[in-house]
């Protein structure tokens, strides 16, 4: 982070001038358009999904309430290349159209999926669950009495939705859309594949194409301005949420939908899930299953091994640091410590590209210094010791995903009130016994959850791995991206499918908690 900010102090190079003259405006315009589009898309999809499942009653509502989460398992770059395969000129849909009507190339208009609009659709389809989850809970927690008060003051149910329920859910909506937009800014795979010039692709291009490290870092700093605005929006809305919190006193009487309304609700809901998960997952399975014997070779197994071991190491490291930080925070709740914890938890909001660049620049400098010193003193060139090692990659993951682990561990730990520690101590337990007999059993689920979440995130992470991986070291995500970029969609399907299946694990976890929540009991 500091490195990125410090890069602004360095003189802007001629490459910067070049960027400014040519593509910087494109980056800004495209990134803004992308954010506006994805913001609107996730808002509409997420809020409608939340409203249907939380406030209405229709056949299939229960299934939809967890099925709406499925697209979370689908990384944006994977859904992007799957839809390209489906909708491209040579894809099944256009081919079928041509055959049915005898058209030739250029005879008809078909929307180009590899465009800004396409990127917006893809990202909205997989990112709306952030909005859905938060808004759904907001709807469920809204006091029934407030909605009834609106009715008894003369407002119809739909007026109540727009005048009371939606405004009250506004903080949750803002928080959800901010999260979705952070993911949008962090996205590299989709925009790169679709050839949309945004900040992340720009950073890559400056880095690899122009070899301008400083300029890339300066671009990162500009990207961080956007991210920072989103963080502020998210924090602000969370504070507002506190005032808006009302616990439901009794089960909400859901609006009963009948006849064509319930059909409409069912079809809209199923369509969202179909487009966001079922269709791309089915297409991937078909691609992956054709000639799977050849694809399931030693190379694929090595990919699996690389990805899994990398993710496991990163997850364990994250967990250890998170537990250390969470306990430090619990024992010494001083301002400095809280500040450190808050900074550490910022990581997730920072795009992987930025983290990679931020980590690589100082390490490269350090490597060069060591090499220089050892060459001059011992006449032995060490080469690059740290750059391009697994260790550095794990460190970058740690920076990026620590907050995921920390939030989970922290929320588990706050469930253990200090009075529990005190009562155990007063019953004669030593601190280590308190840790073993009380904290570990209570925290076990949180710890496992944290481990799982980081594991899956690392497995899906593309840009950080792409920049920092050791030479010739491939993971599922990187290989998927490479194969897809080379238009070898069929070959990319197997690693992609593996990522999606593993990505389903945390979705199942959330699903379980949704099914267990008291509100959904009938």
């Amino acid at each position: 982070m500091l490195v990125i900010v410090a890069s602004l102090l360095q003189p802007f190079s001629s490459a910067w001038q070049h960027l400014f003259d040519t593509v910087l405006q494109d980056y800004i315009t495209n990134s803004l358009l992308l954010m506006a589009g994805v913001g609107a898309g996730t808002l509409i999809l997420g809020v409608s999904a939340a409203w249907l499942t939380a406030m209405c009653e229709f056949p299939g509502r229960k299934i939809l309430s967890w099925a709406f989460l499925l697209p979370m398992a689908m990384p944006a770059y994977i859904i992007a290349y799957t839809y390209t395969g489906i909708l491209d000129f040579s894809g099944p849909i256009q081919t079928a159209l041509r055959e049915a009507y005898g058209w030739q190339f250029g005879d008809y208009y078909f929307p180009e999926i590899r465009s800004l609009g396409g990127a917006i659709c893809m990202l909205s389809l997989v990112l709306y669950p952030y909005v859905y989850m938060l808004v759904r809970v907001a709807f469920l927690e809204q006091s029934t009495a407030v909605l009834e008060a609106s009715r008894s003051l003369g407002k119809k149910p739909w007026q109540t939705l727009f005048l009371v329920a939606l405004p009250m859910a506004r903080p949750a909506i803002v928080a959800g859309v901010s999260l979705a937009l952070m993911e949008t800014l962090a996205d590299y795979g989709t925009v790169a594949y679709f050839g949309v010039s945004s900040f992340t692709t720009g950073i890559f291009r400056t880095w690899y194409g122009l070899g301008e490290l400083t300029t890339a870092a300066q671009l990162c700093a500009f990207l961080m301005l956007f991210v920072f605005a989103l963080i502020m929006a998210e924090r602000w809305s969370r504070q507002r949420l506190r005032f808006h919190h009302h616990s439901a006193q009794k089960k909400m009487a859901r609006l009963q939908l009948n006849g064509w309304r319930s059909m409409l609700a069912m079809s809209i809901g199923s369509l969202i899930v179909f487009l966001g998960f079922v269709l791309p997952a089915a297409q991937l399975s078909i691609w992956a299953s054709t000639g799977w014997q050849e694809k399931l070779n030693a190379e694929f197994l090595r990919l699996l091994f690389n990805s899994f071991s990398l993710a496991a190491i990163a997850a364990v490291c994250c967990l250890l640091v998170a537990v250390f930080l969470a306990y430090t925070k619990r024992v010494f709740a001083s301002r400095i410590e809280l500040g450190a914890v808050a900074v550490a938890s910022l990581g997730y909001a920072v795009p992987g590209t930025v983290i990679a660049v931020g980590v690589l620049i100082p390490v490269a400098w350090l490597d060069n210094q060591i090499d220089f010193l050892s060459t001059t003193w011992f006449d032995y060139p060490t080469g690059l010791l740290i750059s391009g090692t697994i260790g550095l990659l794990v460190f970058a993951y740690l920076v990026r995903f620590l907050s995921v682990a920390l939030n989970t561990v922290d929320s588990g730990l706050t469930a253990i009130k200090p009075s529990i520690d005190e009562s155990a101590r007063s019953l004669g337990a030593t601190p280590s016994r308190v840790l073993r007999r009380i904290h570990l059993p209570i925290l076990r689920t949180s710890l496992l959850t944290a481990l799982l979440l980081v594991f899956v995130e690392v497995l899906k992470e593309l840009p950080t791995t792409l920049i920092l991986r050791p030479f010739n070291f491939n993971t599922l995500a990187v290989r998927t991206y490479e194969l897809a970029s080379d238009e070898r969609l069929m070959d990319a399907a197997l690693p992609a499918l593996a990522i999606v299946i593993i990505g389903l694990l945390p979705v199942l976890l959330i699903t379980k908690s949704i099914l267990n929540e008291p509100f959904s009991n009938e």
Binding site: V146, R151, L163, H246
Partner: protein, 347 residues
């Protein structure tokens, strides 16, 4: 006087379980009623049925001469002229005080609206906080906003669901009296739901006592306290103990309790009766020969409340001045004052 609200044999069922059955009750224009009863007795269900949130299984509810709920038709809550103050006030958190009050005023022109809001703010003395948001107000202020919001559209009836339960105990009776004055001054017909008899006594002209989904008694607060119609009412209202006592034809009670005036007795009397003994029915009298063992006592500030044992072991309460301080285990000389005692036949 015109009947403003009429409940006629109202039954509300949830899943074949009757929450309220056969409730008949009415309020005249400007009258303040109360549904009183222990939790789970169906009083809130009845209130919600009047507001239009619960459909009826049988019976009718009419407001100002119009059927608003029947078995066949439940007029939507937004279409009936009913104002409601909710237990947790249910203020809209995203609107300030002014906009909360304005929420129900969509039928008025904007100048009429402004005028009505000012009237309402004035009525509940909240002019100074009109621009604040609900979370910036105290509990008492929130309650007055809820009241003003419900009254702003001039409803035919105001419903109050446990309106004081979220407030400090000291505030409750004071606020109840204040609200009563306000409602009376503005001739508002109102119906209150509570489990707290002090609130009911402070607010209501007329109380319907509910038990297990049925209205067991409808009376003024005074009569409900002094002439409870059933053991349940006797037990629920005020402090007191019901004891079984033998009685002879002349009205002489067992346990040395003295005698009852024969005229006050029901005709079909057996040889035992149940007596409701209130703490003020037994008085301390140092000249009395009747001495009862003290089982326990509690200090109430100005008074002591003693629990005494009769000869046969039944317990009765006795209220004395607090300077009469006799240790537990000793005896207290008392005199029975049975003029107001309530008599029930044993069942």
């Amino acid at each position: 006087m015109n009947k403003q609200l009429i409940l006629d044999q109202v039954t509300v069922q949830y899943n074949a379980l009757a929450a309220v059955s056969d409730a008949t009750f009415s309020l005249a224009e400007g009258e303040i009623g109360c549904l009183l009863g222990p939790s789970g007795c169906g009083k809130t269900t009845l209130l919600r049925a009047i507001a239009g949130f619960e459909p009826l299984t049988s019976g009718t509810i009419s407001l100002h001469g119009e059927h608003i709920s029947t078995t066949k038709r439940t007029q939507a809550p937004e279409d009936r002229a009913v104002g409601m103050v909710f237990q947790d006030f249910a203020l809209f958190p995203h609107l300030n005080v002014r906009d909360n009050i304005a929420f129900g005023l969509n039928k008025l022109s904007s100048s009429e609206k402004t005028q009505r809001i000012v009237e309402m703010l004035d009525l509940v003395s909240l002019v100074s906080v009109a621009e604040r948001f609900p979370h910036e107000l105290s509990g008492g202020q929130q309650q007055r906003v809820a009241l003003a919001r419900a009254l702003a559209p001039s409803p035919q009836i105001l419903l109050l669901d446990e309106p004081f339960s979220n407030l400090d105990a000291e505030l409750r009776t004071q606020l109840a009296a204040e609200i009563r004055t306000l409602l009376k001054k503005n001739k508002v017909t109102a119906l209150l739901v509570t489990h707290d008899q002090d609130e009911a006594f402070a607010m209501a002209d007329k109380i319907a006592l509910l038990n297990a989904g049925k209205i067991v008694q409808i009376d003024t607060p005074y009569k409900l306290y002094h002439k409870p119609g059933s053991l349940f009412a006797a037990d629920f209202i005020g402090k007191g103990t019901v004891i079984n006592v033998g009685i002879d034809a002349a009205g002489l009670l067992g346990n040395n309790l003295g005698s009852l005036s024969i005229n006050a007795l029901p005709e079909d009397l057996g040889n035992t009766v149940k007596l409701l003994v209130r703490p003020d029915d037994i008085a301390y009298d140092e000249t009395s020969d009747t001495k009862l063992a003290i089982v326990s006592k509690s200090f109430l500030g100005p008074n002591y409340l003693y629990e005494l044992a009769l000869k046969d072991g039944q317990r009765v309460p006795c209220l004395t001045h607090s300077h009469i301080d006799i240790p537990v285990g000793n005896e207290l000389p008392v005199r029975f004052d049975l003029r107001h005692v309530v008599i029930f036949n044993p069942d």
